[in-house]
């Protein structure tokens, strides 16, 4: 490859399209000054993508454009893209965009010999020059094959046209219909446009359609060959750069209070970690949504922005329900701190949801996101697909340091089934179980895991009242663990027992004291008896000793009298 004088390889220059996500997957946009082929079947979004390329060019990069339409009239185009917020009329009036509609009616044309398509060149050239266009769209130039009988001439002229466009230095999008087995496009446009080829697809699986995009070819540029889901809505096209999600997101040590003081205490004293992913699992009616609402309420109060994806209940219903436990979310909605996004999961496919969630997150820039409930997605695809998508969305939020709380509904109480096999994706996992017994159900809560903090391993009772949520210690007594009404009953029983026991103890104590007193009296009596006995014995002993002495003295005196020798 020839090297430039500065010793570096020539780098392919790219033109940013301005289309959400497309520039990411193409590594900067379309090849500058070269044609790009965008092909797909009818209704795959080719024209829309091409128009957005032009509109974004004008509005974001100050690059005027020319749209040469072979199919739709200017009015049709203006109306069609008006719903996407693109005001073509305004762009045309302000001399930033030229729309030239080419009409070829074969029934009106008689071919009488050799010709060329110089008319097309002249029109295109004058349109480009009139607004100093940098971007051109030809949609769909294949119509020429249908309008003109001489395919040989059309082929030769198209080749000339693309060469001419390159010389002109305009970045062009050429759209084409998807071809059959051997060709990408119906008339082999890929033969002339070899720099960049993008395929658009609209596939329907399980009655849900998903648009996908694939970069078939990008000469001189590294590109992903993966299929990327994309979305067309009121903001135009959004491509989801799924594979750009990596495990190198920033981590934080900042903490997010949960709004439940005892829960904060259980979570190392401070609550969740900012930017972490939290899973709250549990069966129906265990208080998952209430926990989420508490988190939202507390953090809106602190001026944080929250985004709530409600897949099960309408926002108004959530707000009403939460009022019953003393949480009023309405003021936050009014202040614009809390935004609800509610729709039924089954309305659209997995990718569409993923895209929609990402787009909303980009739009509202929330600090906290609630996904209620994650389990609803399980119905949308195979286990692996759902898992992949959830991992993507979790990673996406983590990358943007958004604290995300996902609720997950389980049909059984055990842990294995509740995590959708995804527990590794979550930093904190709170599991909630309803315990039934003694004719009542009680909510309990335990922190299964919580990365990066010392957390409590205790099961707590989750008590909701009109004053809010509180966590209460489970009442443990020798007779077992008790909560709810049973706690009250057991505590009363235990209290009574205590009293009785205490009374028993004092009675025995009294007895013992008495006994001790009696014993001590006895000891004293014995000691007195002994003392008397001792004194008596002492007297008689002394008398004996005196007598003995007298006897000895008498014997000595007698011997002295006998003059013994």
């Amino acid at each position: 490859m020839p090297r430039k004088s500065n010793g570096t390889l020539p780098i392919l220059q790219k033109v940013p399209t301005g289309i959400n996500g497309l520039d990411e997957i193409t590594g900067g946009g379309l090849p500058k000054g070269r044609p790009t082929l965008v092909y797909g079947s009818a209704g795959s979004g080719k024209t829309l993508m091409a128009i957005e390329f032009l509109v974004r060019g004008v509005t974001q990069y100050n690059e005027p454009g020319v749209f040469m339409s072979f199919e739709e009239t200017e009015n049709e185009l203006t109306t069609n893209v008006g719903s996407l917020g693109f005001d073509l009329k305004n762009l045309v009036n302000s001399k930033k965009l030229v729309i030239d509609q080419v009409v070829i009616d074969r029934s009106m044309i008689e071919e009488t010999g050799e010709y060329d398509l110089e008319g097309l060149f002249v029109r295109l050239n004058s349109a480009i020059d009139s607004v100093k266009a940098k971007r051109v769209v030809l949609d769909t130039i294949e119509v020429l094959y249908a309008g003109l009988a001489d395919a040989g001439i059309v082929r030769a002229e198209l080749r000339r046209l693309f060469t001419w466009l390159k010389e002109k230095g305009v970045t062009t999008i050429v759209t084409g219909e998807r071809g059959g087995e051997t060709m990408l496009t119906r008339h082999g446009l890929e033969e002339y446009v070899s720099d960049c080829v993008i395929f658009l697809d609209n596939r329907v699986t399980d009655e849900l359609s998903t648009r996908r995009m694939r970069i078939v070819k990008y000469r001189g540029s590294a590109h992903s060959t993966n299929e990327f889901p994309f979305l067309i809505d009121e903001d135009g096209l959004s491509v989801l750069p799924v594979t750009t999600v990596r495990l190198d997101y920033p981590v934080s040590t900042q903490r997010i209070p949960t709004g439940i003081r005892r829960l904060d205490l259980m979570l190392g004293g401070k609550g969740f970690i900012k930017g972490s992913a939290i899973l709250v699992s549990g069966m129906v009616g265990t208080g998952k949504t209430s926990l989420a609402a508490s988190l939202v309420n507390e953090n809106c109060r602190r001026g944080q922005r929250c985004l709530y994806y409600a897949f099960e209940e309408a926002p108004s219903q959530i707000i009403r329900n939460m009022r019953s436990i003393g949480i009023d979310l309405q003021p936050w909605v009014d202040k614009g701190l809390l935004h609800f996004h509610a729709n039924r999961v089954t309305e659209q496919g997995l990718e569409k949801h993923l895209l929609m969630m990402q787009r909303e997150a980009t739009k509202y820039k929330p600090d906290i996101i609630i996904v209620d409930a994650l389990t609803d997605f399980a119905s949308l695809g195979a286990f692996n697909e759902v898992k992949q998508m959830i991992l993507r969305i979790v990673d996406y939020f983590k990358m943007r340091q958004i604290t995300a709380l996902f609720t997950s509904m389980s049909t059984r109480g055990d842990l294995e089934e509740t995590g959708v096999g995804l527990s590794s994706a979550f930093d904190t996992w709170i599991h909630m179980v309803n315990v039934q017994g003694n004719l009542e159900r009680n909510r309990t809560m335990v922190i299964v895991k919580s990365r990066g903090m010392a957390h409590s391993n205790q099961v707590r009772e989750f008590v909701m009242s009109d004053k809010g949520i509180n966590l209460v210690d489970i009442y443990a007594s020798p007779a077992g663990a008790f909560m709810g009404a049973a706690r009250t009953v057991q505590m009363a029983v235990d209290n009574a027992d205590d009293l009785a026991r205490k009374e028993g103890i004092s009675a025995r104590e009294r007895q013992l004291t008495e006994k001790r007193r009696a014993l001590e009296a006895k000891i004293n009596a014995l000691r007195a008896e002994f003392e008397a006995e001792y004194q008596e014995a002492d007297i008689s002993l002394r008398q004996e000793k005196a007598h003995e002495k007298k006897l000895t003295n008498g014997r000595a005196a007698l011997e002295k009298q006998r003059k013994a020798d």
Binding site: I104, S107, I109, G113, Y115, G119, A127, A149, I153
Partner: protein, 122 residues
């Protein structure tokens, strides 16, 4: 814009042709086409033709307005119906059909037939 009137336009006969030829400057094919056309006009139409020659390079707007893509293109304005003839008028039969000098059969088919011939030539 050049305007050329052919001799015989004021002929007393009823049938007259009002034609507009779109060209790009003096491109060889356009010059040849003009000659071919005038010859056909003389031979087959008793010179009862008014031919206006329009250079689309001078006025690209007219190419847009009149939906011209091929060059040369001849627009038959009169007699009705309006029709476009593309090419250099070497296929005389097609020209005569296109100008309604001789009756048209299934024009689409003939177009295809000649198209094939051109492909080989190209």
């Amino acid at each position: 814009m050049k305007k050329k009137l052919l001799k015989g336009y004021d002929s007393p006969q009823n049938k007259r042709w009002k034609l507009r030829l779109f060209v790009t400057d003096e491109a060889p094919r356009c010059v040849a086409a003009y000659h071919n056309l005038t010859n056909i006009c003389k031979e087959h139409m008793s010179s009862r033709c008014e031919i206006e020659v329009v250079d689309i390079l001078e006025d690209p707007e007219i190419a847009r307005r009149e939906q011209i893509i091929a060059v040369p293109t001849l627009m038959k304005i009169l007699p009705e119906p309006k029709r476009l003839l593309v090419g250099d008028f070497t296929l005389v039969e097609n020209v005569l059909k296109g100008l309604d000098v001789i009756p048209r059969k299934t024009s689409q088919n003939t177009g295809g037939q000649y198209g094939n011939r051109h492909k080989k030539a190209a």
